[in-house]
């Protein structure tokens, strides 16, 4: 089980958002660190198959990420997404289940399970328009997990979550990451400190550092800043 990026590049008119990045993701939680504008979201879109690279490619066990089979095993949580305000939280998850091709009976079971898991049991029948930012984020996390994805890509998943929810989310991801590929981007270093098995650090579209969490200094934040400030840590 490996998700492989091979010299993947995304260029917009005058800006290179992702610059010849190569890496391989395997089972476990990989943290993607980088400042705002570093290219994390673009990279995640490339890995999700919803954005085509200008050059290079991304494959999962040799299969192109544009394939339907890949979408079948993918869970993706984007940074910003709008749920349908007229839908209830439950309807939203059932709709996403249908889009993901989950059988109706399984969809109902999985939806109820995830609603409880993300702590939306009391709000499941309320319209999404009445949800707070944190509740929407939890709904987003739930939809990403609907199809029991083998590859889980989450862009700033802890944004909008309160401290208690962050802890619950961390524990959830740590459990999921044991036998799946999980890529989690954030600019909050402490989110990764306890759960990341591996780290990738991006700056201005380039991969500045990648390696095991154990290879980093114990103070992850200090290590991140040193990598960002000193380009000597080349990949």
């Amino acid at each position: 089980m490996e998700l492989k990026a091979d010299r993947v590049t995304k260029q917009y008119k005058n800006k290179i958002a992702v610059d010849r990045m190569s890496f391989t993701l395997t089972k476990g939680v990989t943290g993607l660190l980088g400042a705002n504008g570093a290219g994390k979201t673009t990279l995640m879109r490339l890995l999700s198959g919803i954005l085509l690279p200008t050059s290079g490619g991304v494959s999962y066990d040799g299969m192109d990420v544009g394939a339907e089979e890949y979408r079948d095993i993918l869970g993706y949580l984007p940074q910003d997404f709008g749920c349908y305000p007229e839908f209830s939280g439950r309807d939203f998850l059932l709709y996403m289940s249908a889009a993901k091709g989950i059988q109706k009976r399984d969809a109902l079971r999985k939806t109820e399970e995830l609603i409880e898991l993300v702590g939306l049991g009391d709000a499941a029948r309320k319209k999404v328009r009445a949800y707070s930012g944190g509740m929407k984020q939890r709904l987003g996390i739930a939809q990403a997990l609907l199809n029991d994805p083998q590859v889980l890509i989450m862009d700033e998943p802890t944004a909008g979550l309160d401290p208690q929810e962050r802890i619950r989310f961390r524990n959830l991801i740590a459990g999921i990451g044991k036998n799946r590929i999980v890529l989690l981007s954030t600019h909050i270093v402490s989110d990764l400190e306890l759960i990341a098995d591996r780290l990738m650090i991006m700056k201005e579209g380039r991969l500045m550092w990648q390696g095991d969490r154990a290879a980093c200094e114990s103070d992850l934040e200090a290590f991140y800043i040193s990598v960002i400030n000193e380009e000597k840590h080349g990949v």
Binding site: R45, E68, R71, F81, G101, K104
Partner: protein, 377 residues
Amino acid sequence: MLGSLYKYELKKLFSAKINLTLMIGSVIILVFLAISSVFENRELPGEEARALDGRVIDGQLFSETEPGLRKENGRTILQLSEGYEKYAPVLNMIMPLTGDDFDFSRLAGTGFYDLRSQKIDQRFEKQSLTEEEIAYWKGQESEVPKPFVYHYHSGPSSLLKSFQALGFFILLLSAAGLSGVYAGETADNMNQLLLCSRFGKKELYQIKFAAGITWILAAAVLLILALLIPYCIIYGMDGTGEMLQLVKPLSMLPYSIGHMLAVCTVIFLLAAVLFAAVTMLLSVVTQNALAVTGGLLGCLIVDLFAVVPDRFRLLETIWSLRPNAILMNTGFVNYRLIRLAGRFFQGFQAAPVIYILISIAALLIGRVKYSRLQVGR
């Protein structure tokens, strides 16, 4: 799964506030339009309009009508004075031939039919019809029974005349209600979730399209009912089997009003599908709901005011095939024909086939565009 997806796509459309508001607003306006026809004396309800039932439309009937007409500066004006209201249907037949100001003596004897033939010949000449086209129409005309016999037909004729309004309403509903079917997902940042789901790149496109078509057809049926029910209550539906010429005196089609109501209903429903298909195609291509709505409303204005001169035959023929032209009933007095495989087709016969073909093309082009959609391009 696909059934659930379809159900939820319908839910999105039917629960969207703008769609609900527009739908209810349109229904209210159409009901008001139907009710107001009584107050504006466009049609006579009840016994008054049945007073002339079975009367032959000839010089005798016109001579009975003439004393009831108003006179101004020695000229006869086609407006009835009190006590002569029952002759309103007679005036409705004369108006398309004469206009408001008219020398009534020309209608004596078979004058009405001579005048009608003259008007038709003038139109043939203006539209530069070929000998074959004229022969086709003469053949149609020979099947129209003469003299015309008046029978009460206020209900079905009111409905037939209202199809033009229905055409505008359905375009408006399509432009505002379906412009966001695909573009809205981009605007709401939902595309990034949908496009990376299993059915998000292919099946979802078709399901959204099917839901859009279902919604517009439901809206179209509702709009028809918004007129049909009040007209049924006010006028009844008697006269559906009467000749079309009682409503459109210049028509040479040997059909009944009911026949043309059925034709208009089919064309209206297909026009709704066409509008929906084009709206959704533009929604995929532009990914901008506001631009789609604005563009289509611009087309509506052009449709209302643009006239293509008769001398540009091909252009005028194409222009006359647009849904609102056919629904406006001008299709029944537009004598230009479309020749295909050695056969002549009238506008209202060719239009449905063209609408279906354009709708299928829109579906296929949209599918290609949708499959190439990317997020954050």
